[in-house]
């Protein structure tokens, strides 16, 4: 309760603000629609209204406020409109239906999970290489950082095409783009983690004349676990973003990214909003799940 109450308050405040903002955001289109239907609105000219302030428009046409909450193409959908759409596209549709968000969510999720697995694996391997080889550390690390300044959306289509041309299609290209985003936090975290043992812990092994291999399995790897989990949380959220980005050029407009795209293509703002909310919930659940795994694993390791 102590934890949930402030969150609920903030959420309530956000909703209140959101509801309050809806009339101002939607008033212009609403008035145009009402005017078409025969209502008298001030001013009665859409161009004047375009240049007028939303605030004045709402004040002068307060009768239109209810209608701002029921627009079909709102600039800002009201929370209940998003909730209704979410309800309609998750609970009311069969999960196998192409109109079900769960169906699209699963498509995105499968690419995310595969990409996350690839990214994490690659990240760990790279980190091990960096920690064990000075040459790799010095050559690769600066470029790994630079690689993150490249806008992924710009090269995603190229990646898809290049993979396509060597016969890789479907889930894998999306997963690779998703992996591209998730590997970086894992590399950074794991390099830090594998280097976490202090000089004394390393010296202890030296007094036992332990091999590098033993040092890795008995010291570096366990010591890196807290870092690994922390970066997995960042990585999984990044993997989801990657999968969604990859869905734009992947064709077929499937998945949550596809929903956002077609929503934007057909001006279905509500559809974008519900896909957004669904994606955020998905991300939060994935992070939560990793958090749970973290708690269990670290507890079993005696680290808490």
């Amino acid at each position: 309760m102590r934890k949930i109450f402030p969150v609920l308050t903030v959420v309530a405040a956000i909703f209140a603000f959101w509801y309050a903002a809806v009339p101002f955001m939607n008033v212009k289109e609403t008035l145009t629609g009402l005017e078409r239907a025969g209502a008298v609105v001030v001013p009665d000219n859409p161009i004047e209204r375009r240049d007028a302030s939303s605030f004045g428009l709402v004040l002068n046409n307060s009768f239109a406020i209810p209608a701002t909450y029921a627009q079909e193409r709102p600039r800002l959908p009201a929370p209940h409109q998003v909730a209704q759409d979410l309800w309609k596209t998750t609970v009311m549709k069969k999960v196998t239906s192409k109109r079900s968000l769960v169906y699209h969510g699963w498509i995105t999720l499968s690419a995310t999970l595969l990409g996350f697995a690839i990214g994490t694996g690659a990240g760990i391997i790279l980190a091990v290489g960096i920690v064990h080889s000075r040459a790799m550390d010095m050559s690769v690390m600066p470029w790994a950082i630079a690689s993150q300044t490249i806008p992924i959306l710009a090269i995603a289509p190229m990646i898809i095409v290049v993979l396509n041309s060597i016969g890789i299609q479907g889930l894998v290209p999306k997963a690779i783009i998703s992996a591209y985003l998730s590997f970086f936090p894992v590399v950074v975290g794991m390099v830090k983690g594998l280097r976490a043992p202090d000089a004394m812990q390393m010296d202890l092994l030296k007094t036992y004349n332990a091999s590098d291999n033993q040092g890795f399995w008995k010291l570096r790897l366990p010591a890196s676990m807290p870092y690994l989990f922390a970066s997995l949380k960042i990585g999984v959220a990044a993997a989801l973003v990657g999968a969604i980005v990859a869905e734009l050029p992947a064709g077929g407009a499937r998945g949550l990214g596809g929903r956002m795209l077609t929503g934007s293509y057909y001006g279905q703002m509500v559809q974008i909003w519900s896909a957004l909310v669904f994606a955020a919930v998905l991300a939060a659940s994935l992070v939560l799940l990793i958090g749970l795994a973290q708690r269990r694993a670290l507890k079993r390791m005696g680290l808490t």
Partner: protein, 263 residues
């Protein structure tokens, strides 16, 4: 101090060590010669930065001297390290937090390839030795600082090394706990007849424990005094209020102050 190859377990001759650092080289050890015989309990005392740790690390083969010779069990220090000739106890317990106390003590045994059964035997034996038998399944953070330090000593005792190198093992503990551990360490030393090299900051601790007290002084790190203790092997804590004890302590303090005044 005539070197005697037969009885000397550790023998340093004209040892020199200079660290190359970014700005100026640091002369950490200068012309250090010392012989430690089988069964000795040698304490190193001196102000911070005088090279106590560095000397211990040279013996352990963790640091390579830039001059002089050093033999441990008749080998070079590095060979001795590879032969696992010693157990090393650090200032902080340095137990791995993801292993239980028993698991921590097993660590060197796993690395050295002892059989599973042997590992368990040994863990049980050394846990008993440091009076932690009931705590094998606990994680380090569930124990007090003193208990952790005892576990780390057990870890160094678990395999068959005749030499015990201890770098301020009780530095982080409070005086009462420290007294208690000192008593136990003495008992253990009497029972096992190991050779112990022990670094400390505390004059009473050095005097109470040692058969030989090595006073060092800094810039460059060197030995300024070696005091052979006339105290008997059996030492109750009360011995610290005896005139002999106070006399030796006084001599150590004088030695320290002399070294310090060089600054």
């Amino acid at each position: 101090m005539v070197p005697n190859a037969n009885s000397s377990v550790i023998s340093a001759k004209a040892l020199d060590l200079t660290f190359q650092t970014a700005d100026a080289p640091v002369h950490a050890l200068k012309d250090v010669s010392l012989d430690i015989a089988q069964g000795d309990f040698v304490s190193f005392i001196g102000p911070s930065g005088c090279g106590k740790t560095t000397f211990l690390r040279c013996i352990a083969g963790l640091e390579t001297p830039t001059g002089g010779t050093l033999t441990v069990n008749g080998m070079t220090a590095d060979e001795a390290r590879r032969a696992r000739a010693y157990g090393y106890v650090f200032q902080a317990a340095g137990l791995y937090p993801w292993r239980t106390i028993a698991g921590n003590i097993k660590l060197p045994l796993e690395i050295m390839g002892y059989s599973k059964a042997d590992q368990n035997d040994r863990v049980a034996r050394v846990l008993d030795l440091v009076e932690l038998s009931d705590f094998g399944a606990k994680f380090p953070w569930q124990l007090s600082g003193g208990m952790q330090q005892r576990a780390s000593i057990a870890r160094a005792l678990a395999f068959d090394a005749d030499i015990l190198l201890m770098d301020e093992p009780f530095g982080a503990l409070d005086e009462i706990v420290r007294d208690h551990l000192n008593e136990q360490l003495l008992a253990l030393w009497t029972r096992t007849n190991k050779t112990i090299a022990f670094v400390t900051h505390s004059i009473p601790e050095a005097v109470y424990l040692s058969t030989k007290i090595v006073v060092m002084s800094p810039r460059p790190g060197r030995i300024t005094d070696v005091i052979d203790s006339p105290l008997p092997k059996e030492r109750p804590l009360d011995i610290r209020d005896t005139p002999e004890f106070i006399e030796i302590a006084h001599r150590v303090r004088e030695g320290l102050r002399a070294g310090h005044e060089d600054d």
